[in-house]
């Protein structure tokens, strides 16, 4: 218990330090608070956004988009990646194309997406899906390719059929790599979401900070940035970390760090 307390303490200390330094700098240098807001200004902006329900609307809109995008990416990328992982021919053919696409994935598609789907929900979800798809596909492929040959042989000599091979060997075997892909992909997807919201919608956190920039409300901008950071940490701690703990770590298969 005391160890957890100590860990929590050491987690909080740097943030407290940062806030203190921030407050001190603003107070001592007398910088224009419209350019660099004081800690209290940001706290007030947060309280206002919370009270007016604005915060809930924006966060809700963003989370909904990312959720739909993630599910769409998982459903499309995993089967495709597995197909590439199984067939050496398909992997050789698609690998250069994938590498080309990874470079473009996400933000670079915003002009085209808004042209195709107009400005709105569809374009943003397309960007999130697009940002994640290639990283997920690539990692799913690597995951299958990296399952030790002996494990596949063991399964076959225990009488595993093709279909069972997929569900009982390949899926769990590739999971560490898929989780990595999810991490990397979510990183791109998250940035794609923010960028797309700036350009293509009228709700969401990305939109809210850009609206604030137009009105020179730096307090609101910083509130939005903090929320973006906190939301990502929550997604990481609530979604990805437990997934890793329950599967990859429990099974003693170290996660692939990227």
């Amino acid at each position: 218990m005391s160890r957890r307390l100590a860990a929590a303490f050491w987690f909080v200390v740097p943030f407290v330090g940062l806030v203190v330094i921030w407050a001190a700098i603003v107070a001592l240098t007398g910088v224009d608070r419209r350019v660099f807001p004081q800690v209290t200004d940001v706290a007030r902006a947060f309280a206002d956004m919370w009270a007016s329900g604005e915060l809930a609307t924006h966060v809700g809109a963003s989370l909904q988009r990312i959720a739909i995008g993630v599910v769409a990416a998982l459903v499309t990328a995993i089967p495709f990646g597995f197909a590439l992982g199984i067939s050496r021919w398909a992997a050789a053919f698609f690998s250069p194309l994938l590498r080309f696409s990874v470079a473009l994935a996400g933000i670079a598609w915003i002009p085209l997406a808004t042209l195709w789907f107009g400005t709105g929900e569809q374009a943003v979800i397309f960007i999130v899906w697009n940002a994640m798809f290639f990283a997920l596909t690539y990692n799913a492929m690597l995951g299958v390719q990296r399952i030790p040959t002996e494990l596949l042989r063991a399964a076959r000599s225990l009488g595993t059929t093709r279909l069972r091979m997929f569900s009982d060997v390949m899926l769990p075997g590739a999971l560490p790599s898929i989780v990595t892909g999810l991490r990397v992909g979510l990183g791109y997807g998250w940035r794609g979401l923010v960028a797309a919201e700036i350009i293509a919608t009228n709700a969401g956190i990305g939109y809210s900070i850009f609206l604030a920039q137009r009105f020179f409300r730096t307090d609101v901008i910083i509130t939005g940035m903090i929320i973006i950071g906190v939301l990502w940490l929550i997604v990481d701690r609530v979604l990805l970390a437990p997934l890793e703990r329950r599967t990859v770590e429990r099974w003693g298969m170290k996660a692939v760090v990227s």
Partner: protein, 280 residues
């Protein structure tokens, strides 16, 4: 005695002629797959599957590209984008590499900064654009700031991971062979963590690249991102296609000519398969 069905199959070897050699050729293997894709693209455009306001064929795109090059727009925008990227990467590495080693080697620095690192990494770099615009206006400084930001954090985190991956026994071996703390750092820890630095730069560049495009779309007055978004505003899909292809080719070249050789020269040359990659 039953005869194996395999008997009739000649032992490969003589059969492996020019087809085999062609398939082994690196350039063919890399560029070959693009041939059918471009053909498919041409076919879809030719058959008018999508309206031409949304989708144009390779010929149109090539013509536009030639036109933009002739007018000098594409080269100058390209130079602007690359210049911004280079600035960002340079300063990002100048800050990120020393900072990364400090955090990796000093327990105190680690304790005090690690949670902050995680948090700043979590604030998507693009979210800095609005405040950066307020601070620096629509300037090169603003774009550079965002790119530096995207590079520094992945780089620092990778370096910490890399230093941790240096086997303790190798460090002990160096110490017992008479290396002092400084020599252990320069001769063991730095080379040992190089593969991670390479990975970190690659990850950082991946994010930096996207941030650059986003920044140019949002605040740009030149550059590839600006060109694409400007075309989109005018409803000219051809310009958007040109931009995407240039971006893709550029990354491909960067990856093939700079990043991959650097990784190969460290990781593969030393036979250091990243332990994390083995995953078992």
């Amino acid at each position: 005695m039953s005869v194996s069905t395999d008997r009739a199959r000649p032992v490969a070897g003589r059969r492996r002629g020019w087809k085999h050699r062609l398939a082994q050729n690196g350039t063919v293997r890399t560029l070959g797959p693009f041939v059918p894709v471009v053909f498919l693209w041409w076919l879809v455009a030719e058959l008018d599957v999508f309206p031409s306001a949304f989708f144009v064929g390779p010929a149109t795109v090539l013509a536009e590209m030639a036109d933009l090059i002739y007018k000098g727009i594409l080269p100058s925008y390209l130079a602007d984008s690359l210049n911004r990227l280079w600035n960002g990467v340079l300063f990002g590495m100048l800050i990120g590499i020393p900072a990364g080693f400090v955090v990796a080697l000093s327990t105190w620095a680690r304790k005090l900064t690690w949670p902050l690192l995680m948090f700043f990494q979590a604030i998507a770099d693009i979210a800095w654009l609005p405040i950066v615009i307020v601070w620096f206006g629509f300037s090169l400084t603003a774009v550079t700031f965002v790119i530096v930001y995207t590079i520094v954090f992945p780089l620092m985190i990778s370096i910490v991971a890399g230093v941790e991956q240096v086997p303790r026994d190798v460090i002990r071996a160096a110490r017992s062979l008479g290396a002092g703390r400084f020599r252990v750092f320069t001769d063991v820890i730095v080379p040992g963590s190089l593969p991670s630095v390479a990975t970190g730069i690659r990850t950082g560049l991946g994010y930096g690249w996207r941030a650059l495009i986003a920044a140019e779309i949002i605040i740009g007055s030149s550059g590839l991102g600006f060109m694409m978004f400007d075309s989109r505003r005018a409803g000219e899909v051809t310009g958007v296609f040109v931009g995407m292809i240039v971006l893709g080719v550029l990354w491909f070249a960067l990856d093939a000519l700079v990043l991959a050789p650097f990784e190969r020269s460290t990781i593969e040359r030393w036979g250091m398969v990243k332990t994390a990659e083995v995953g078992r």
